[in-house]
């Protein structure tokens, strides 16, 4: 990993790491995402205790235990639902959801499109290795149609799922693609995503060295931070559909209505006064 200048601020990336060593295979792309995330948090100088990091199940979803923040390793596919409840109940927190392509785009697909639509202020990190790593190598929605595996000996034959296109159509207000092998670019994207007010999708290509060893070639194929940012959905659509999957950077960022906790602005009365009026309404 390249050494970078960390701005002169209090927090350092290592402040955000926990004492646990990741259970990932040596060389797994997910390591570099963990590192980039701690850098972004340090850059933003966020207080550890005010960060909520939730995930589903998968190799990628093991992330929360490796940061010294408030984490939640939930069930498979439901990270965004969990994050939405947390954010609405605790608007003061920086809420980040993380997981894999299987977790987010297959079993979690419904929460994905509805979280995009709600556009709550949540950052969603998808560590996309185009495979179910944890369960030992089945095709995920982002797998190539002709990738052979035990479960699909001839490949699935299915066109790849287009996460960024679907996020755009569903109403996400920040959409970016990063590469685990590009620490600088990724740190920058993550920093921007967390700072962005609204739902941010950060789709990160992250090689699974064990079940997709051929992904080591991504290092050659990726074009680092070559994308032009736009706030125009039609332009973004063109860039997203036009991309072969190897362009990185922020494709779309726009200022769009954010779904927020209603209560905070609403509470003029004391609890007991409110309760009294609520009970009064029941009287015959």
């Amino acid at each position: 990993m390249s050494v970078e200048k960390i701005p002169v601020k209090k927090a350092r990336p290592n402040d955000y790491t926990s004492e646990h060593h990741p259970v990932w295979c040596p060389g797994c792309g997910h390591f570099f995402i963990l590192r980039a995330l701690t850098k972004a948090l340090a850059w933003l100088n966020l207080d550890k205790e005010n960060i909520g990091l939730v995930s589903g199940i998968g190799c990628s979803s093991r992330l929360p235990a490796y940061l010294d923040v408030y984490g939640f390793h939930g069930v498979h596919g439901r990270a965004l639902a969990l994050a939405s409840g947390l954010k609405l109940a605790r608007p003061d927190l920086t809420v980040i959801a993380a997981g894999g392509d299987g977790d987010g785009y297959s079993i979690g697909g419904n929460h994905f499109i509805h979280a995009c639509r709600r556009n709550m202020d949540i950052t969603y990190i998808v560590m996309d290795n185009e495979v179910y790593g944890m369960t030992k190598g089945q095709p995920s929605p982002t797998s190539d149609p002709d990738w052979h595996s035990k479960l699909a000996p001839k490949g699935t034959g299915l066109a790849r799922f287009n996460p960024m296109g679907i996020a755009l159509a569903s109403g996400a207000s920040f959409i970016a693609r990063g590469f685990s092998g590009d620490p600088n670019g990724l740190t920058k994207i993550l920093t921007e995503a967390i700072e962005h007010k609204g739902f941010s999708l950060v789709e990160i290509k992250s090689p699974c060295v064990t079940f997709r060893p051929e992904q080591k070639d991504w290092h050659h194929a990726m074009r680092l931070m070559n994308v032009t940012l736009t706030a125009n959905p039609m332009e973004a659509a063109q860039a997203i559909y036009g991309s072969d999957g190897f362009d990185t950077g922020i494709f779309f960022q726009a200022d769009m209505p954010v779904y927020e906790a209603e209560a905070a602005n609403e509470k003029p009365h004391s609890d007991s006064a409110s309760m009294e009026s609520i009970e009064k309404a029941l009287l015959v």
Binding site: D47, E49, G71, H73, A81, L86, E262, L283, V284
Partner: protein, 587 residues
């Protein structure tokens, strides 16, 4: 021991109204209930609908008394038919006998055979002709007047109730309606059921409330700060009721894309510190199972209210049954101890739901509150319920960590009670990762035999060691009884009335209504029933409660079950014979 068998039976009055789409039978029922309440009485109202979404036939059944009353009427004393379209659909719900008086709109159809055969006194009136004389009026308001007159309900109570219901539509609407009511009141001079006029009214404040609203209120009192839900009949009213007051109380409601989301949203919010809940029914509960298990394993407080309807599968969405008990008890994979609680009637739903939320917080686990369509959607006039004085709350670590407790915060620390201090995001030095995998005390995943056993035991222990006090059951013991009836939920009121009646006739029978179903207070129950003949009464096909009590060795092996599927609630008279038969078999 209470002398409940010596009470005199309070006066009762059963009225029903039916009509096809648009005739407004339900409106009449709602106004009538409110007016009778305003007159100083009590009552309840249930509804029935044909399969058509709207514009189809509907009926309301009201049961009045000068005391709080939750049972359904044995038969309809006065039935008013706005028309006879598809009336046969209500045959089960509106029992007519030779003692019934049936007043019907006679300008179109004759009463159907089943009504004629009932032996009821039939009285046709030409409502259509009357409304023609009052511009803008509707036949249901004439009917309202007729019913008021028949039962001895004074005009000004109707007017006050009408004002409340229709007031916002303008004074003209109210006036026109009252004109029709007046015409109805003038129509018949005979008032065979005028009883109301002789009853003793109360001047105490009372609530007009459904059981679903009661659950909403109870959770608000319990400190609810977050709800997420996906609509489903018959549970939607709970969250619809909560929508405004929850925000007033500083909380939030999130409409979920599905039940999987709803349950996970609850867990997320609760992890953040908000006392949280969702409400659903069987099909939705089925979708929440996986996440409910997460609440158990990760020790996150969470309340799930499930309002049972007829099952299995989509079943009978608008009617009642007690057939989801097995699911509430056993549906989670793995050994996943949690709480299952059920109120015994509508009124106590307020307190029992407050208790349920408080227990989820105190025990940091999943609590399933089980009610049903009857308990949830029956509207009732009840005495206001005092707030339960509970001091249960979530155990938290001391806000400022000292060296020895917090160097490595152990979220899942093994403690004597099994309950570990739970930090909330924002508390410095107490960061941890909540975990659904088998884990160590610090929350690190582990697959070792010992960690697994230790935390399985921690979680069952915290629930078993807890002192639930007296609320676990409602007991109506009889001196020298050798027979005990056990029941739960919406069957309770009918069973209670049947047992009281039999007591009154000299049969010594004790009654136990179970509220805390899991963890079962099996020893206490076994002690109460060990020398007893036991009958378990429940409304499902497979005797779910009875099997559960046998499995827990909480009742004698020769206990019997009287289990009948829904979708109609038991009436007290349905139970007299089965109880008698069981007693005869047993002596």
């Amino acid at each position: 021991m209470p002398n409940h068998h010596q009470q005199t039976v309070p006066p009762r009055l059963a009225v029903s109204i039916s009509g096809s789409g648009g005739t407004g039978a339900v409106t009449v029922g709602l106004i009538l209930l409110d007016a009778v309440a305003k007159a100083g009485f009590y009552g309840n109202m249930t509804r029935a609908f044909g399969p058509q979404i709207r514009g189809g036939e509907s009926a309301v059944m009201l049961h009045f008394s000068d005391q709080p009353i939750e049972t359904l009427a044995e038969f309809s004393q006065l039935h008013l038919a706005l028309d006879w379209v598809k009336f046969d659909r209500f045959e089960d719900e509106i029992p007519l006998t030779a003692d019934s008086l049936v007043i019907y709109e006679n300008s179109r159809e004759k009463p159907p055979g089943l009504v004629e055969n009932s032996g009821a006194t039939l009285l046709g009136v030409d409502l259509q002709a009357i409304v023609k004389t009052i511009k803008g009026s509707r036949i249901n308001m004439v009917a309202l007047g007729i019913v008021a007159q028949q039962i001895g309900l004074a005009r000004h109570f109707i007017e006050a109730a009408l004002q409340k219901t229709l007031g916002r539509k303008g004074s003209e609407v109210v006036e026109t309606s009252m004109a029709a009511v007046d015409a109805g009141m003038a129509l018949l001079t005979d008032t065979p059921l005028s009883g109301l006029a002789n009853w003793q009214p109360t001047h105490q404040p009372r609530w007009n409330m459904s059981g679903n609203e009661a659950c909403g209120l109870g959770t608000l009192r319990g400190g609810l700060k977050f709800a997420a839900a996906y609509p489903i009949t018959p549970a939607t009213d709970i969250v619809e009721y909560l929508a405004r007051p929850l925000v007033q109380m500083g909380g939030n409601l999130l409409i979920a894309e599905d039940e999987l989301a709803a349950m996970n949203m609850v867990i997320g919010a609760s992890f953040g510190g908000a006392p949280s809940m969702t409400a659903t029914s069987g099909p939705g509960l089925s979708l929440m199972i996986e996440a409910m298990g997460l609440a158990v394993a990760a020790e996150i407080p969470a309340l799930v209210i499930t309002v049972m309807r007829g099952g299995p599968s989509t079943g009978i969405p608008t009617k009642s049954e007690q057939s989801d008990l097995n699911q509430a008890l056993y549906a989670l994979h793995g050994d996943a101890p949690h709480l299952v609680i059920a109120p015994l009637n509508i009124q106590e739903s307020v307190n029992i739901s407050q208790w349920a939320l408080a227990l989820s917080e105190a025990l940091q686990t999943l609590v399933i509150l089980v009610t049903d369509q009857h308990l949830g959607q029956t509207r009732m006039i009840m005495d206001p319920v005092d707030k339960l004085p509970l001091t249960l709350s979530r155990l938290q670590p001391k806000a400022d960590p000292t060296a020895d407790t917090a160097v490595h915060y152990q979220r899942y620390q093994i403690t004597d009670s099994g309950i570990s201090p739970m930090s909330l995001p924002g508390m410095g030095s107490y960061q941890y990762a909540a975990e659904g995998l088998t884990h160590t005390e610090s929350g690190l995943p582990s697959s070792r035999v010992q960690d697994h056993a230790q935390h399985l035991h921690k979680r069952s222990h915290k629930i078993l060691q807890f002192d639930y006090g007296e609320l676990w059951a409602q007991r109506l013991p009889m001196a020298n009884a050798q027979h005990t009836v056990i029941t739960w939920g919406s069957s309770f009121e009918a069973v209670k009335e049947a047992v009281k009646l039999l007591n009154h006739r000299g049969a010594a029978i004790s009654l136990i209504g179970l509220r805390l179903i899991m963890p079962l207070q099996a020893e206490a129950l076994a002690a109460l029933t060990q020398h007893q003949k036991v009958l378990v009464i429940e409304q499902n096909d497979s005797a779910q409660l009875s099997h559960y009590l046998l499995a827990e060795k909480a009742i004698p092996l020769d206990s019997e079950a009287y289990a009948k599927p829904g979708p109609l609630l038991f009436k007290p008279s349905d139970l007299i014979r089965p109880i008698q038969t069981w007693m005869e078999d047993r002596t």
